[in-house]
Assembly symmetry: C2
Homo-oligomer: 142 residues x 2
DNA sequence: TTAGTTAGTTAGTCAAACTAATTATATGGA
DNA sequence: TCCATATAATTAGTTTGACTAACTAACTAA
């Protein structure tokens, strides 16, 4: 199985993604905000307010799943919803000031483990991972 | 934020891992074997029989979690357990022939989405992802 | 020998995902 | 215009995979 064989690469990437997430999951307990919620919040902060459906599509989950995630974020005061004036069925979800603040702290705490390891790598390897991450994000699109 | 800044790279890798796994998750339903089980099975096939504790460590989950995963695999006929002759507390978990067969079919089906996209990339980019995957697996090790 | 450790299991809880069903609103065609 | 269909969001119920805590059994060392 050649190193660049598609199935092999797919397999290793798959394993790598699973293990990487497991490795950083230990930071979840401290933050009080779980990975899926932080990820959704991150989209709201960086891409701006959007409908629940758009957010669900962006995060690649069903509307039902996102509805619950957003409800939780709302209870925690990290996001808010308001009626879409142009479509009474719709809501606009946006991050609150608290949400923005928590995002940064949360991200940092969550990623500290990863970052600590990354910072020990030579710059070229970090650059390689940065390029790979962008490629992976492309691959994950639809 | 420089492209090779550790926090930035950590953030993008984190997002990439989340979205990549969500993207391939749609294949779960077809295979009948979920990602964590397939991942554990994969370890058993490629690294050989091992104790439950060793498997849990390898997969970075608690022994309790692995105990349940292995129990499920056993019910599905994909793995088997037998007493460790040298330590009556221990068990040796190993993949069955059916497990090996399922692994390959399952992996292929699960990874088909990824692989289809990967095969369209130029070889250099696949090589980059292959290198990145190995780095990520290293990073994930405690 | 007995105290402490290790291997594994079981019970109970939780988050996050899904599907199916429900409600409300929009919209396009006869 | 009005009805059928489509879309937005929610709710209910289920499943999976993760955890901790508590337990039994077996090993090990002081």
């Amino acid at each position: 199985m050649a190193r660049t064989d598609s199935l092999h690469v797919a397999d290793r990437l798959h394993s790598a993604a699973i293990r990487l997430l497991r490795a950083v999951r230990v930071a979840d307990a401290e933050t009080g905000v779980t990975a899926p919620k932080l990820s959704a919040l991150s989209v709201l902060v960086f891409a701006g307010p959007m409908s629940l459906t758009a957010l669900a599509r962006n995060e690649q989950v069903t509307a039902a799943t996102m509805s619950k995630l957003v409800a939780d974020l709302e209870v925690e005061g990290l996001a808010s919803k308001r009626a879409d004036p142009a479509d009474k069925r719709g809501v606009r979800v946006e991050a609150t000031a608290k949400g923005r603040a928590i995002l940064d702290a949360g991200r940092k705490r969550r990623l500290a483990l990863l970052q600590a390891k990354l910072s020990q790598l030579p710059r070229e390897q970090r650059a390689l991972l940065a390029d790979a991450a962008e490629l992976m994000l492309e691959l994950a699109k639809s």
